[in-house]
Structures are given as structure tokens and as C-alpha cells.
Subunit: 87 residues, 2 copies
């Protein structure tokens, strides 16, 4: 379990580090991460409009950047759907 | 990334399924999961009192069971610490 958590942290950092703040995902970084890493878990992962809406729904402070815990909320909901848990 | 998420879901289910509700972690299941799967990420993972306090802090509806999203909050904070992100 710790190694799986480590993978998620490393992959977040790899995308977050490509431009601007290395600890947050910009809109471009988020688009790239979703289309490359979550193509099956996110509906319409290749549709820019859908991803834009998803980003806005997660970016609570509306600064155009997702921090790690904002991103973690997304993958928690994806994981919960994937696991078939009731919300 | 999807495979790492799948691992976390599968491991949660493996522990959650050992008694009672198969979708939630009882106190015993949570103790076993933390001591076996998160021995490095959780401080005092083998101390029953510490684990009991951690469980209480996560169990928002105080029913003695952790559902998947309650559990997800814990590993998000562990992952954030592991990754060195500011909170």
C-alpha cells in the first residue's frame, strides 16, 4: 500500500513539475495528467471542455492551480466509483 | 496511475471484507491494515492507543466503521506528508 501511495505522489510531482509551481498542477498539467494517466477512470478524459469543468470543480480557491490535496479528492472519488462503493 | 489506485481499492477491500460490512473498516480491521500496510507512513503504527485515536479522528459519523472516503482522507494526508507538500 505504501508503494502505491508513493507512485501516486511521484506521478503527481512529475506532472506538477513541468511548468510554474512544482507542487501544483496548472490547467495544462492537469489536462496532460488526466488524458495520459486516467484515460479509463475519467469520463471524456480527452475532451478539453469536460476536463476544464472538472478542474474548476476541484479548484476550491479558484486560483487555476490544483494542489495535492485538491487532486487527492478527485482520485478518491474515482477510486470510490472504481471500487463500487456507495458514496 | 490507474493501477496504483486499483491497488489501494483492492487492499482496502481485502481488509474491509474480513468481518462485518465488507465496504467499511471496523476498528480491528483498521488496526490490522495500518500495522501491516502502513508501518512506515503512520507514526506509532503498532501502538493500539495511537491507532485508536487516529480511527476516532477519521470516523466523522462516529459509528466505529471507516468507509472508503474516510479512509481516503487519511492516506491523502499521509501521501501529502510523504511527498513533502505544505498543507
Amino acid at each position: 500500500m505504501e508503494s502505491a501511495i508513493g507512485v501516486l505522489v511521484s506521478q503527481f510531482k512529475a506532472y506538477a513539475g513541468s511548468d510554474g509551481s512544482s507542487d501544483t498542477l496548472s490547467r495544462d498539467e492537469f489536462h496532460r495528467l488526466v488524458s495520459s494517466e486516467l484515460p479509463n477512470f475519467v469520463k471524456n478524459a480527452s475532451d478539453p471542455t469536460a476536463i476544464e469543468q472538472l478542474m474548476s470543480s476541484l479548484d476550491k480557491n479558484n486560483d487555476g492551480e490544483l494542489n495535492f490535496l485538491e487532486f487527492w479528492q478527485l482520485i478518491g472519488h474515482l477510486a470510490s466509483e472504481h471500487g463500487g462503493f456507495s458514496q
